[in-house]
């Protein structure tokens, strides 16, 4: 598979791996957090593409670029699987 560059508007999760001691009793879990897309846009430019009115009502925003779906958290082990 070709290595792709992350797209911050699509790939909103960040993953990190805290230090895990051999003495820690539980197996390590990768930590994750979401960076919502508004963090990258700054002041909103005019004339952005819009959702349909019905879709905007469901999603909570008129603009796809601001949409942060917050998919269900997957509890991953150290290898990200």
């Amino acid at each position: 598979m070709k290595k792709r560059k992350p797209n911050p508007y699509r790939d909103q999760y960040r993953v990190w791996y805290p230090f895990h001691s051999p003495d820690d009793p539980c197996p390590p879990i990768a930590k994750q957090y979401v960076v919502p897309p508004n963090q990258f846009l700054g002041f909103q430019p005019p004339n952005l593409p819009q959702f349909s009115k019905h879709e905007a009502l469901i999603k909570g925003t008129l603009w796809p670029i601001f949409y942060s779906p917050y998919p269900p958290k997957k509890w991953r082990d150290k290898d990200g699987t």
Binding site: R4, P6, N7, P8, D11, Q12, Y13, R14, V15, W16, P18, F19, K31, Q32, Y33, V34, V35, P36, Q39, F40, P71, K74, G80
Partner: protein, 189 residues
Amino acid sequence: MWIYEKKLQYPVKVSQCNPHLAKLLIEQYGGADGELAAALRYLNQRYTIPDKVKGLLTDIGTEEFAHLEMIATMVYKLTKDATKEQIKAAGLEEHYVNHDLSLFYQSAAGNPFTATYIQSKGDPIADLYEDIAAEEKARATYQWLIDLSDDPDINDSLKFLREREIVHSQRFREAVELLKEYQGQKKFF
């Protein structure tokens, strides 16, 4: 673990006998946007923040304790030789009946310090934005203290502390930028 140096981060000198100013400065000691709240906030949040900004929270949280010590020194110097009449004139009677002239973690309005002043949300972006807001509020508090203080030596120290808030805010903003990166992440979700 900490290593203690028995000196202040920046000198504190008092030029006027002004116990009333101590009553105002206590806001930065035990107030909502004070140095104690800042130190406890950062040193607590750092356990669950990503590694790449953990050191920043440790360093700034430690410096806030150095600031707390400076404020304590100011309050102590401003009140230690106050007479009974000066205590009454400065409105410190309520403090005196409860604490004598010892320091206490409370706001300028006399509200005791509470953990509800600080938050630890667990979301790194939310926590760092709280930290940035806290620094800006502390900077504003220093400005209003400088406005009300006529003591040039105290104001010199307060201006130093105000400038440190600006630097801390800048560092936290940079930390947000670091958290936005995908550094070391092999898969994208």
